[in-house]
């Protein structure tokens, strides 16, 4: 317990950490880069880049295939990364951690491999109005293919899930899947996944958690969340692109049909019949993103060294500061819940100025933010807007960048509103 207390008290030094990120050595339009779009993808520290280079230069070979030494070394690195990432989310066993190409593929894996065999007419698939398309569209599609009913938990005006609507949802039939993001990428809302897991399990349903936006900023314990599957991506957490993970309960993964089929996922192949290998390999057909997985492991080391709690605290401080600064901008509407129920994301609109114009004007100041629907069109419809501006923070974000954001917004208001 002492260790936990020490970790929680540790504060990160964003200015010092910025030196780990070569991207900040450049200027954009003659100004230092203020990167306020980490929710879409985070930058990469030298520790991860060096690991990738070093792995390719000294340890690279295909994994789980060769008898030769180099292949053993590469396999040990790849499996070592799996162990680290499994520990990062407190998975009971490393074999429950499947490497995928990202959270999107992880969710598709569950939707196809579990959904096609377990859903049918009379069953209900429940998502939320807050989902990223990656945890919405696959379920909508598989529900349609299997004849199941597809429905979404609505939001209240603060962007929080209306759990009081669950009673009505339940009337639609046999609830088989509940899918929710732990942190909303559009509003930053931290969702009550534990409650939804319990509700799902009381009805014999599985709980699928999209943790793509949570994993970089928020400590994850799959056993505490009580979920059955959890998906996340490396690139949002300082790791390489094209690799991610799916954690699933062993008994569910073992009972599931495979998703991608091909080499390495088999036990034995005959003309008449093929049998599947053990988990996790049953779900890792073909050559995997090997170096990327190793880099993902290095990213997890990097975040763990800093401390996820320290990262979350830092972002919350920035969030509170940003909400104050943005409240001074005339005509600005901010969306999302109170800071204590929210990750470092600010979604907002400037009255009379289209988000694309806002983002354009900010870019001229070297400030990078996102403008658009954030792959959350059902949420945008609920908010009654086509798009929002979104600024998001990470471990390397400093308050000056938020000042520059606010200055840019004042300018945008003056110019166009």
């Amino acid at each position: 317990m002492d260790f936990v207390a020490v970790t929680a008290e540790r504060k990160l030094d964003a200015r010092k950490l910025r030196a780990d990120f070569p991207i900040f050595e450049q200027e954009v339009r003659g100004k230092p880069l203020a990167y306020l779009d980490s929710a879409v993808s985070a930058h990469k520290p030298r520790q991860v880049l060096d690991k990738l280079r070093n792995f390719y230069e000294t340890s690279y070979a295909n994994v789980h295939r060769g008898v030769y030494t180099l292949s053993e070394v590469a396999t040990a690195e790849y499996e070592g990364a799996r162990d680290k990432i499994a520990r990062f989310i407190n998975a009971p066993a490393s074999r429950e951690l499947i490497f995928t190409h990202g959270a999107t593929e992880s969710i598709n894996l569950v939707a196809y491999a579990w959904g096609l065999d377990n859903l049918g007419p009379g069953d209900v698939v429940v998502v939320t109005e807050l989902e990223h398309h990656s945890n919405f569209v696959p379920w909508q599609y598989i529900a349609k293919r299997t004849g199941a009913t597809f429905t979404a938990i609505p939001l209240d005006e603060h962007g929080e899930l209306r759990l009081d609507a669950l009673g009505e949802i339940e009337q639609a039939g046999n609830v088989k899947v509940v899918a929710n993001n732990l942190v909303s990428n559009a509003l930053g809302t931290i969702n009550p996944v534990e409650k939804l897991s319990a509700w799902a399990h009381e009805r014999g349903a599985i709980m699928v958690v999209d943790a793509a936006q949570a994993a970089p900023h928020h400590a994850i314990d799959v056993q505490e969340l009580g979920c059955d599957f959890l998906a996340f991506s490396s690139h949002k957490m300082c790791g390489p692109t094209s690799v991610g993970a799916l954690w699933g309960r062993a008994e569910l993964l073992e009972a599931m049909s495979p998703f991608n089929l091909g080499g390495h996922m088999i036990r034995s192949v005959k003309l008449e019949e093929t049998t599947w290998g053990q988990i996790p390999f049953k779900f890792e057909a073909g050559t995997q993103p090997i170096a990327e997985a190793v880099g993902f492991g290095a990213a997890v080391d990097y975040l763990t060294d800093i401390g996820i709690g320290a990262i979350e605290d830092h972002e919350r401080e920035l969030l509170v500061y940003a909400l104050e600064k943005l409240a001074e901008v005339p005509g600005l509407t901010a969306y999302g819940p109170a800071p204590e129920r929210r990750a470092g994301i600010v979604s907002f609109n400037l009255e009379g100025v289209h988000p694309h114009d806002v983002a354009q004007i900010l870019d001229m100041e070297g400030v990078a933010i996102r403008a658009g629907h954030h792959c959350c069109q059902p949420l945008m419809a609920k908010l009654g807007v086509a798009a929002t501006n979104r600024a998001s923070f990470y471990l390397y974000t400093i308050p000056e960048e938020i000042d520059r954001l606010a200055d840019g917004l004042h300018k945008a208001h003056k110019l166009l509103a």
């Binding site: 789980h64 008898v67 062993a250 073992e254 036990r267 049953k282």
Partner: protein, 145 residues
């Protein structure tokens, strides 16, 4: 001793060239087939119990494999003779690895343990003894009749 001699030590070569317990048992009391998906090696294990229906009287194996897997399975047939199904089901893999007595990398470990895990599978099918960990991942795909 050279690395080669360490790995392919005399006793390994002897078991490889003159495998004990090689062959079939007609009407075996327990049997199973195992594969090493990494190299495609296959082994079938046959068990005959003694009069008490529980003590292993005879173990035989057939199939193809590398020197390590064939020698290890050959040694296994000697190691488990006279033990009960339950004893073998819970036999630590290190007992067999000590017997083999050579340094094994993770990939070669799978070769060395193919026979043992297949024998445990055979006992599971016949006696309901615990399924070995290395089979757990594929249990739903196995024909456990």
């Amino acid at each position: 001793m050279s690395e080669f001699d360490q790995l392919y030590r005399e006793v390994i070569l002897d078991h490889y060239k003159n495998p004990r317990g090689h062959g079939l048992i007609e009407d075996a009391d327990a049997e199973a087939e195992g594969q090493n998906p990494l190299c495609g090696d296959e082994v079938s294990i046959y068990v005959a119990f003694g009069e008490d229906g529980d003590t292993i009287d005879e173990v035989k194996f057939s199939g193809r494999g590398c020197a390590i897997s064939q020698a290890a399975t050959s040694m296994l047939t000697e190691l488990v003779q006279g033990r009960t199904a339950q004893e073998v089901a819970t036999l630590p893999r290190d007992d067999l690895l000590d017997e083999i007595g050579i340094p094994l990398t993770p990939v070669r470990l799978k070769c060395a343990l193919l026979g043992l895990s297949t024998l445990k599978l055979a006992l599971h099918k016949a006696k309901g003894t615990p399924l070995p960990e290395e089979w757990a991942g594929a249990s739903s795909d196995l024909d456990l009749k």
